[in-house]
Symmetry: C2
Subunit: 229 residues, 2 copies
């Protein structure tokens, strides 16, 4: 195996000579981060291998330590990236122009689709919970993330109550938890669930049925007067 094969990239054509090196700090960093995301999401923190990550990048293991410091810091960087992504998108949601019920349904729709399409995110969150969020606790970036969903929900609920469509007294965070729980579980637990109940939670018809069911459950909860007790 020649050096050419090992690196896989030669940017200048310099026949007969050693392949020249091209520095690309940001590219290298991103490359590592992307591969690490896959590795950790797929195998967990303990299961993920630094050597395996290095092997799939176009660079070497040394660069991981150079840019990130170590396995844990790399994992944390991955975590910060995926959390940053979802918050950024959430913050761009604009639901204030919609009718309360429509707004809630739109938010559920978004959450449902996002979670379904970002299995890596779901897996990383699950993994982090297995670790009792011990890594996340060290992250200032995640602690400082601007969470607007709760405010968004609070305003929708308030408008709904004023309009008389929402009668139940539900706290925004609780509502968010309920929506997340539904959407998250379908993805996070699909493997054991499918196996035990002979289902296919990834199937199209199941998906649309579930989406409707979840939205109906939330909406009917909000519309129903508390039973009291």
């Amino acid at each position: 195996m020649t050096a050419d094969d090992a690196t896989g990239i030669i940017r200048k054509a310099n026949p007969g000579a050693k392949p020249s090196r091209k520095n690309d700090p940001e590219g290298t960093r991103q490359d590592i981060l992307e591969v690490a995301t896959e590795e950790f999401a797929s195998l967990g923190f303990s299961g993920g291998r630094v050597d395996a990550i290095a092997a799939r990048t176009r660079t070497t293991k040394r660069m991981i330590y150079y840019y990130f410091g170590g396995k844990e810091e790399l994992y944390l960087a991955v975590l910060e990236k995926v959390y940053g992504d979802i918050r950024a998108i959430e913050n761009r949601l604009n639901l204030q122009d919609l009718e309360p019920e429509t707004a809630i349904r739109a938010l559920i729709d978004f959450t449902f689709d996002y979670q379904e399409q970002h299995e890596d995110f779901i897996r990383l969150v699950s993994i982090e919970n297995i670790h009792r969020a011990e890594h996340m606790k060290k992250s200032k970036a995640i602690a400082n993330l601007n969470i607007t969903v709760i405010d968004t929900l609070a305003r929708i609920l308030e408008r709904g109550r004023l309009a008389g469509v929402f009668k139940a007294d539900i706290q925004p965070i609780d509502l968010h938890m309920m929506i997340s729980a539904f959407c998250f579980f379908r993805v996070s637990n699909r493997h054991t669930f499918n196996l035990i109940f002979h289902q296919n939670l990834a199937a199209d018809d199941t998906r649309s049925r579930h989406k409707r069911m979840i939205a109906d459950a939330i909406v009917s909860l909000l519309k129903t007067e508390a039973v009291g007790g």
Copy 2:
């Protein structure tokens, strides 16, 4: 450290002599299984250490291999035990004498409490999903488990529909998924959720509020006529 200290158990008093050994195959097996449950639930399959398990049993690592064959088989035995436990309890539930709504609320109540009280189970299920249920797939014991919850739910739904209290057309498995999702998420994701939203999902008042909310959501879903679409 003497041999006495190392084993921790001397069943016969034979002063001045080596402590005698007592064979206890079933006890040894159970001992290992219990410690392994804690270890794997706490640290995951990759994170769990065979040596650590052995150290906390009253026996040695050799016995793990003698009785279970290896790390993976031990982990599978743990999985089979906890799944067997919950199914056994579920199968003993008797909800057919209750009014449909009361029965549903009782089932939710049970599920909620069981999940909350069996964090090890929740964690092991999460862990197994991280592994895409690859270990569980190898288990005949789990595949052959008798799942009665779905039948129970089906009968409650049917009775509710006949009585005119339940109007929505919901499939038993979907309903079970929804209930599980709620109850599971609160426990499985509590660490990241608490951190991000500055909550305490383990607090008493949160717990009872959530239990009521979940039950209300399910019940109002079932009682509400489908919106159609």
